[in-house]
């Protein structure tokens, strides 16, 4: 069953802070992520299903999957001095692949791909004690053409049904967002007002409206990573979001959000 759902920013400046980043802001985002960790410990999940968009780390141009599932025994990645290795919940991962394909989603699976920081920056801060196994789910956000928001939402709906039918207590974490434009001339001017409008929609429990956004709109607003959130929204239906924080830095809208679910305590 699905007992918890969260969205967490993953900008690497939250893990390794250069002097360009406001320390107090970074610590406020850490505090919000600490709330997620404590909340996860209260929810007692058996595994964490993490939806993130690979930053051209595991998947370069030799093969570009729209949607992928990590189904090995473990997964690992490195960033600067950090070395991460996580156990994968193999039974759950395999069920997601098999049932996902049965439901019409042509998923790539990997038993050996590297893990991108989009997965482990949130886990660095929110992994409950004791650590739980994970299932990483990749959604292509950086290499056009990406899956449409409608397709992400449909995949999330199927994923939610698969997770609800499982015997374990499961939490879903969408990694990424909100507005930012890395590598472009818009880097220092994200669309914070657009983000705030989106958060109001989510707080109202109208997340399904995001399935109607276009890829062009997400690109224009610096929100290509919102595909991970939209996937999660397919799984949580009309649940209302609770915003733990929205912290706009000079280049990034950092949000931490929970969708409290009926199955939770």
């Amino acid at each position: 069953m699905l007992v918890g759902a969260f969205a967490v920013a993953h900008t690497p400046q939250l893990l390794i802070r250069p002097e360009t980043e406001d320390r107090a802001l970074v610590l406020r985002v850490h505090e919000a992520m600490g709330r997620v960790k404590r909340r996860l410990e209260a929810l007692r999940p058996d595994a964490l299903v993490v939806i993130a968009g690979d930053h051209v780390e595991a998947f370069f141009l030799d093969a570009v999957p729209a949607l992928a599932v990590y189904v090995g025994r473990q997964c690992a990645g490195t960033f600067g001095p950090y070395r991460y290795r996580f156990d994968i919940h193999e039974g759950l991962a395999r069920d997601i692949v098999e049932q996902g394909i049965e439901r019409g989603f042509d998923l790539l699976y990997t038993q050996d791909a590297k893990l991108d920081y989009a997965f482990y920056v949130p886990l660095h801060f929110v992994m409950p004690e004791p650590p739980r196994p994970i299932v990483p789910l990749h959604v292509n956000v950086y290499l056009p053409p990406q899956p449409t928001p409608a397709r992400c939402h449909a995949w999330g709906r199927a994923l939610g049904e698969i997770l609800h039918a499982r015997p374990e207590r499961l939490a879903l974490i969408a990694s990424g967002g909100m507005s930012h434009f890395p590598g472009t001339d818009r880097y220092a001017s994200p669309e914070f007002d657009y983000d705030r409008g989106l958060l109001e929609t989510l707080v109202d429990g109208r997340g399904r409206e995001l399935a109607r956004l276009t890829g062009e709109e997400l690109d224009k607003r610096g929100n290509i990573e919102l595909r991970t959130w939209i996937t999660l929204l397919g799984a949580v239906g009309d649940a209302r979001a609770q915003v733990y924080c929205y912290e706009p830095s000079w280049h990034h809208g950092n949000a931490v959000v929970e969708w409290p679910l009926p199955a939770g305590p």
């Binding site: 939250l14 893990l15 390794i16 802070r17 250069p18 002097e19 320390r23 970074v26 850490h30 930053h55 051209v56 780390e57 370069f60 141009l61 600067g80 001095p81 660095h124 801060f125 950086y142 290499l143 056009p144 053409p145 434009f181 890395p182 590598g183 472009t184 818009r186 880097y187 890829g215 062009e216 690109d219 224009k220 610096g222 290509i224």
Partner: protein
């Protein structure tokens, strides 16, 4: 996706360039060799003279105009900068 999008389909003409940027981003040993001697580090990469010149300057606009992915340019440049000038970083 329109041609004015921030992130566009990476043309195959820029494959070698993107391959080099990917290595700079994700392969620390390669990035160190590139910093020591960019010409030698990229000698087997099938890059043109002009591509090498733009890489040497990490000229974002020129690289993106050639079809380089903006995120790869961004993170490759950041990794090189962190190697060359570690500066003051706070690790959490």
């Amino acid at each position: 996706m329109s041609e004015t999008a921030h992130y566009r389909f990476p043309p195959s003409s820029a494959y070698a360039l993107n391959r080099c940027l990917y290595a700079l981003k994700s392969d620390r040993a390669f990035a160190e060799r590139f910093l020591a001697d960019a010409q030698a580090a990229t000698s087997d990469m099938e890059l043109t003279h002009d591509e090498r010149a733009d890489l040497g300057r990490m000229d974002r606009d020129a690289l993106v105009a050639r079809g380089a992915h903006p995120y790869l340019v961004f993170m490759a440049g950041l990794r090189l900068k962190m190697l060359a000038e570690p500066g003051t970083l706070e690790y959490f």
